[in-house]
């Protein structure tokens, strides 16, 4: 019965920070990320809502202030409304900030598309002493107005019923006419008449609306007009230019200002006579400002910001310690169990080295990531992140970026633990393509959630007493690298001016615990899913690369000969006990013989690993990487990191458990590295620097290609980042060596 053709399509439109995404989630129950800063919903998000057995299709449009194409979001939102022509638009307005939010409503009404107004954040409005006469507002707007509280889901059923009602009424688009005063109205009328007579774009746009867009100098509409009817378009443009010129000369203003002024005038008329009343209980409104005075203070602000970042680390590492250890020992126990029960052979190696170590290495860090994401969700949902963007704009401008680049950086892992894939996508909010590209190319330098476990493991092994401090240092380092390299890119291959910074700061809000948990869980679950599928598969692939081809007989032979030579020194009566390892062989020198045997075994397995495909690649690279202090095992692990950064740790785990044949306890990787004579804090730090900066994972590279629209940028990021990373890690290693560090 329900074919998709007759399915009701509903779009959600609204200003940034009006609670649109929260409402969308409340309606569809879809698990998506809700941020508090503008632009997070720049992608088109779809969901469905079931009303009395009918499925309604919902599309969450990007948050916009207007319907004129001044930004990518506005373009996306408008295109959707005009092209897809949803039966009804749910216009979400923030009741506590009604005047400004109705600006978009007015434009929707001017477009004529059927709308239902969701008067959201009624609770916030009430607490600020704002009273709204809902039925009178609805009467004046001539559209249904439904009070809602997206955070609690209040009013959502009523809202959807109203929306479905409007949708089924199948009204034709009826544009609202607003008077724009004596300077605009006459020319607007003339333009409207010409457009109507010529049938110019009237198939999709109301004539008066098109005329307005010409006056507002809307590049996209004018461009489309030029294609459709160049002659008429030129005439309209010249009419618009005349008005603009006249206004500039007589009133020192421009059409947009007059249009905006009249729209706001229309809105204040709407809200007059008690439709909106504010009792002077407005203290709460200004609480946000009071907080901002301190938090964004020129001197205190940055200090508070650093302190908050530091607390994020403290929180993450302190509270995740116990569960991380528990999981680690759990996987260790599983490994030991497999070690004793499974028969010798490739399968045993696959299960222990490929699967248990691989998955354990990744899942062992889930608690850490969980706590980190919780902290980030808290910062986002309270509104603090937007302040960070504001405070950092000056800094970012210096480096040829934009204050909004900070969102990309933070999502990518600027507060360690993000992911470069959504980070690269978040750069869509940037207007200037050069700043955007520079952000896209440098965001992967941030410490994403996948690099974090590697850092945590190396820190645990070599800097155990300074967990949080080192993590903070690493964060600052990655920021410094990203900013400096962005500057480098902006003065060389991407030269050009900066775009202005203009960002609304949402009022501070107390996040809901449920919301925080949903955000935290979503991101953590994504990580686990990734760990469970791609990472396991690639972990196995890399195990195979390291296990095959096996050492040929002629190469195994010298080791066997050496073993025989050692065994020949064992007195014959003790030989069975010695080889089986049962009971203590009671003869002098048994211990040293055993050690020699173990040495031979180690050499043999090392030779086998070197002989494998991965070992060959790693060994081949050793000639170059020795400058940074990397041996072939590190090289192998870093190679696997090209596939996904999470794999570095599991590959290293595989590499080290394969390389050790003596029956020691199945200790965790960080203990193994700490005990390895080839490793020292200096080498560990050089490795950390390399991992921080080198080529992004394949998923990110694909994203970079998609977002920049060119293969060359994906390739560029792989080559450039690896070159930079290698240069810096060599610098660290050689300088450290020269200073006598690392032994």
């Amino acid at each position: 019965m329900k074919d998709t053709g007759s399915q009701v399509l509903i779009a959600l439109a609204g200003n940034p920070n009006c609670g649109k995404t929260t409402l969308f989630n409340a309606l569809t129950g879809s698990r998506q990320h809700v941020g508090n800063y503008p632009g997070i919903t720049v992608e088109k998000k779809e969901g469905s809502y079931s009303l009395n057995g009918n499925l309604l299709r919902l599309v969450d449009l990007p948050g916009t202030y207007s319907l004129t194409a001044y930004s990518l979001e506005e373009l996306v939102a408008r295109d959707f409304l005009v092209q897809e022509r949803p039966q009804v638009v749910i216009d979400i307005v923030d009741a506590s900030n009604l005047e400004r939010n109705l600006y978009l409503t007015v434009q929707l009404l001017e477009l004529g598309i059927p709308i239902v107004v969701a008067l959201n954040m009624m609770d916030a409005a009430e607490s600020r002493g704002i009273e709204i006469d809902v039925s009178e507002l609805s009467r004046r707007l001539q559209v249904p107005v439904i009070p809602t509280v997206a955070r609690t889901g209040m009013g959502k059923v009523g809202l959807m019923e109203a929306a479905a009602g409007v949708a089924t009424a199948k009204q034709a688009w009826t544009p609202l006419h607003i008077s724009y005063g004596p300077d605009i109205d006459p020319v607007l009328d003339r333009m409207e008449r010409e457009i109507k007579d010529a049938g110019f774009l009237t198939d999709i746009l109301p004539p008066r609306w098109t005329a307005l867009k010409y006056l507002e100098d809307d590049e996209q509409v004018i461009g489309k007009g030029k294609e459709t009817d160049p002659e008429l378009s030129a005439r309209l443009e010249s009419m618009s230019a005349q008005v603009t010129d006249h206004l500039g000369k007589t009133l020192d203003t421009y059409p947009e200002a007059i249009i905006a002024d009249h729209r706001y005038g229309f809105i204040s008329a709407l809200l007059k006579d008690g439709v909106m009343r504010q009792s002077r209980k407005a203290d709460r409104l200004y609480m946000s400002d009071q907080i901002d005075r301190v938090v964004t203070n020129r001197f205190l602000g940055p200090l508070i910001m650093l302190l908050i970042l530091y607390l994020v680390y403290q929180f993450t590492f302190k509270y995740s310690e116990v569960p991380v250890e528990l999981l680690e020992s759990g996987f260790s126990a599983l490994g030991s169990y497999a070690e004793t029960t499974l028969p010798e052979g490739p399968l045993k190696s696959l299960i222990i080295s490929g699967i248990i170590d691989g998955v354990g290495g990744v899942l062992g860090f889930v608690p850490l990531i969980l706590f980190m994401f919780f902290a980030i969700a808290l910062l986002e949902d309270t509104g603090y992140l937007a302040r960070v963007a504001y405070m950092l704009d000056r800094v970012f401008r210096t480096f040829g970026l934009h204050g909004s680049s900070v969102m990309s950086f933070i999502i990518s892992g600027g507060i360690a633990g993000g992911c470069a894939v959504p980070g690269v996508m978040a750069a869509r909010t940037l207007r200037s393509s050069k700043e955007r590209l520079a952000t896209i190319l440098t965001a992967p330098f941030m410490n994403c959630g996948a690099k974090l476990p590697v850092f945590a493991m190396l820190i645990a092994a070599f800097f155990p007493a300074r967990h949080a401090q080192i993590m903070l240092l690493l964060t600052l380092l990655s920021w410094a690298a990203a900013l400096l390299l962005a500057k480098l890119i902006r003065v060389t291959i991407l030269r050009g001016p900066s775009t202005p910074f203009l960002l609304e700061l949402p009022p501070y809000r107390l996040p809901t615990f449920k919301g925080l948990l949903i955000h935290t869980w979503e991101r953590t679950w994504q990580y686990i899913k990734k760990a469970g599928t791609i990472i396991l598969a690639i972990s196995i692939l890399f195990w195979a690369l390291m296990f095959f081809p096996a050492l040929p007989e002629e190469k195994k032979h010298p080791f066997d000969a050496k073993r025989q030579a050692v065994l020949a020194q064992v007195p014959p009566e003790h030989l069975p006990a010695f080889t089986e390892g049962t009971g203590e062989p009671a003869f002098t020198g048994a211990e040293s013989l055993r050690e020699r045997l173990a040495d031979i075994d180690r050499d043999a397995s090392q030779a086998a690993l070197r002989y494998s495909y991965a070992g060959r690649m790693g060994t081949g690279l050793e000639k170059i990487t020795q400058w940074a202090g990397f041996d072939w095992r590190t090289n192998v692990a870093l190679l696997s990191g090209f596939a996904a950064k999470e794999l570095i740790i599991s590959t290293m785990g595989t590499a080290y458990s394969l390389g050790q044949t003596d029956e020691e306890e199945n200790r965790s990787l960080s203990d193994r590295l700490a005990g390895d004579p080839q490793w020292n804090p200096l080498k560990a730090f050089a490795v950390i620097v390399f991992i921080m900066l080198y080529a992004p994972c394949f998923a990110t590279v694909v994203c970079i290609i998609k977002e920049s629209g060119a293969w060359k940028w994906g390739l560029f990021s792989m080559v450039f980042n690896t070159a930079v990373a290698f240069f810096l890690s060599v610098l660290v290693f050689q300088a450290g060596h020269w200073m006598g560090l690392g032994g």
Binding site: Y65, A257, D289, R293, R298, Y390, R394, L502
Partner: protein, 97 residues
Amino acid sequence: MQDKARFKCGCRCTSMKTSNNGMLPLCEAEAGKRLKVAGIEGGRGLCARMAAMGIYPGVEMEVLCGGCGCPCLVRVRGGTISLGKGVSDKILVTSAL
């Protein structure tokens, strides 16, 4: 009292600029003052974007933070908007009475 507001914002001016007809760029305005937008210089696109966010000639705003050539924070029509220096030096303001 204005001194206090300025101090709270952490900004100290070395010299206050004022132009002859009482207009000055927003980026030079003191924090804590109520101001009226007198005009906006700059491209039409930027002006229109600002208008959509509630900043256009004639509108009143309060400077929460800023001044002296720094990025600033203004409260306008119930929203808090942050402006980079490149934007705030294009907004001309007069003090609102």
